[in-house]
Amino acid sequence: MTNKAKILLIDDDLGYVKSITAILESKEYIVETAYDRKSAIEKIEKIKPDLILLDIMMDRLDDGFTLCYRLKHDSELKKIPILTISAVTEKTGFKFSPATDGEYFEADDHMEKPVKTSDLLERIEKLLKKVIK
């Protein structure tokens, strides 16, 4: 059931997008991509993804945050689960996490790059199951 889910991958790192796409397509997810905030918004409106994988730092330091905020404060789009992925970790300056910054960072889940394949797929499945419920 969740296999035909549409996942939108938003990340400015082309190489990274390719590797994650390989993982997702192996599980028969339909993968769409966007490389910056503006085109991401356009894509979201057009294809209405079932889940969004979102990078944090793109053209600007806070692109991911801003996009996440915008989506979660939109009456329609807030239903789409967002899993944020970032190469910047707490050690290196990234101090936000959905667990501790609830109202400022409303992503449904967060992972650090590089991700373990099994871990990523598990979390995606979990988030998709939640929506269906």
């Binding site: 990274y16 390719k18 050690k91 790059k113």
Partner: protein
């Protein structure tokens, strides 16, 4: 000595911000201070005793406070201490008819900036006030600059880490995808090489993290978070965390200390980090089945932590370099040991930011002992 009257320009600049509070039980004193200082453009408030003075301080947030030492009720000295508690950046000037060296020293101990013995002339009052406010201006400015520098540094660190880590994370991700067969079958020879390559990337990622740690541990940063901390839980948690690593080489970790050790002054997180680096060195450079013993003893002003291992030891020549950044001993025995070479320098910086000392003694082939001295927390009540 120069012009004691502030120029109208200076008056403008200072009076825009400066509020002065005069706390004295004598009406005549309050009135004359008011007269003199108002002429110079400052905003003056008054209070007739310690309690109402403290209330006013919380209300109006003055830049400078003139405090009479001898008042009924709360003494000037007690008042000075309470002022520091409310805001350590307020400039206090003590005025008193009983000027002695002792009272001056006592006042300075309570962070008074200056001392004005009664009776004083209007000019003397002006000079002391002007000096105090200048000091205030500088203190506020340096606090602002420090905050700015810190923000810039944090932004820099975030940017650099993103630029460096992001591509490496992508490489690792690629390797993972290839090794798991997502883009086709992988022969065992290819698998081996890709795994090796992955290890280089891991080492590099570790190096970046360590380097970022180094840049974060500048003395100014962590001392702000200092408080009285107990060493026992810090050390036992560190050893607990390193237990799995020790087990891979069948190494025994031992902790010897009294239950009732006094506290030391410091920051728990960075101390944990320092001890983790030191003890993991003791494990990594150890032999199979060896031991690492961590013990603490109390001395007059400090606690001394000793970390002893039964490892391969360090040659006399290399001992000179072990605290250098990026230095790692390169020998037959250390070939398999990876690391950024920053473990010891980071630990050293942390210890020194704690006003402590770290010393190393070693015998090649026998083992190494590190001695870490950390000052006890002050008896002064905080």
């Amino acid at each position: 000595m120069g012009d004691v009257y502030t120029t109208s320009e200076e008056r403008q600049k200072i009076s825009e911000k400066a509020t002065i509070l005069v706390i004295d039980d004598e009406q005549a004193m309050r009135d004359s201070c008011y007269q003199v200082l108002t002429k110079d453009g400052y905003r003056i408030e008054t209070a007739d005793d310690g309690d109402s003075g403290l209330q006013k301080i919380s209300q109006i947030k003055p830049d400078l406070v003139l405090v009479d030492l001898k008042m009924p009720g709360m003494s000037g000295m007690e008042l000075l201490e309470k002022v520091v508690d409310i805001d350590p950046n307020i400039i206090s000037v003590v005025i008193t008819g009983y000027a002695t060296v002792e009272s001056a020293v006592e006042a300075m101990k309570r962070d008074a900036y200056d001392f004005l013995p009664k009776p004083f002339t209007p000019d003397q009052l002006r000079i002391v006030t002007k000096r105090g406010l200048e000091r205030r201006r500088l203190a506020l400015e340096s606090a602002r600059l420090r905050r700015e520098k810190e923000t810039m540094r944090e932004n820099f660190v975030t940017l650099v880490s993103h630029q460096l880590r992001s591509p490496l994370a992508s490489v690792k991700q690629y390797f993972g995808v290839i090794l798991e067969g997502f883009v086709g079958e992988v022969a065992s020879k290819q698998k081996e090489m890709i795994e090796r390559a992955g290890k280089y990337v891991d080492d590099l990622l570790q190096l970046i993290d360590d380097w970022l740690d180094m840049s974060r541990i500048e003395a100014g940063n962590i001392t702000e978070k200092f408080e009285a901390v107990a060493l026992a839980p810090i050390l036992s948690e560190t050893l607990e965390l390193l237990q799995p690593l020790a087990e891979t080489k069948r190494i025994t970790l031992e902790l010897n200390l009294r239950d009732d050790l006094p506290a030391i002054e410091g920051d728990e997180d960075t101390l944990k980090q320092a001890f983790t680096n030191l003890v993991s060195n003791g494990i990594n450079y150890n032999r199979e089945g060896g031991t690492v013993i961590v013990s603490v003893r109390e001395e007059v002003n400090d606690l001394v932590v000793e970390i002893s291992d039964t490892g391969i030891g360090i040659s006399e020549d290399d001992l000179h370099f072990v605290f250098d950044e990026f230095f790692s001993v390169r020998s037959e025995e250390t070939r398999g040991i990876s690391g950024s070479g920053l473990g010891l320098p980071i630990a050293k910086r942390i210890i020194e930011a704690h006003n402590g000392l770290i010393k190393i003694a070693s015998e090649l082939g026998k083992g190494t002992t590190l001695s870490i001295l950390l000052p006890k927390a002050n008896q002064k009540d905080k």
